[in-house]
Symmetry: C2
Subunit: 121 residues, 2 copies
């Protein structure tokens, strides 16, 4: 069973988490059997390691991390690979893969562009 | 003519701007007559005031700011309204409106959820 971790930046405002919770809930509604957890780089909990462990405990035999960041900067290109390497080292039996940022997915760029265009028509 | 400003966080890595440039280019391809500019809160240029002035100079009689942020935290709830109020005060003849964050738009949450679901199927 593939587990899903939605990885976001984190912020002091608790309402900041709302979009990520909404995405998690939509995915859960479609795939209730799929272990899924949110994780945050900073300020909010759980962190990535805790979230990965949570989906493993729920039955995931592999884990895919989806960075819910608009773009790839130092956080995703430098910080995240180091964090993931440390997590992988102590969980060698669980393959952990990493998806790209939201802004590197052509269909999501299309969706954002279409939203802007609808609002200016 | 309505002008569009795509407002993003900014980062030290110049490649970070790529998704926002791609969104701008998609919008320009569909609506080449529409003045459009990118703007950044931090680190990158131009800032919001410079971008708003650029679309006014290009012929915009009103401007809509689209915050390309995943979620609404202190940046959008506290910083941005103050920045916008200062800009509006010295440009009273140009209505400047503000859209919501990407993560507050239901169809974009749907699009992100669908992407995740496609990747785990």
């Amino acid at each position: 069973m593939q587990g899903i971790v939605l990885f976001a930046h984190g912020a002091r405002d608790p309402e900041w988490a709302r979009p990520f919770e909404a995405i998690r809930d939509r995915i859960r509604a479609t795939r209730p059997e799929c272990p899924i957890a949110l994780a945050y780089l900073e300020i909010m909990n759980p962190n990535l390691e805790q979230a990965i462990d949570a989906v493993i405990v729920e039955g995931a035999s592999s884990v895919t991390v989806f960075p819910l960041f608009m773009a790839q900067g130092g956080h995703l290109k430098q910080d995240l690979p180091k964090i993931l390497d440390a997590i992988r080292a102590s969980r060698p039996h669980v393959p952990i893969s990493l998806e790209t940022a939201v802004g590197e997915v052509p269909e999501l760029l299309d969706a954002i562009s279409s939203w802007v265009l609808r609002r200016v028509e």
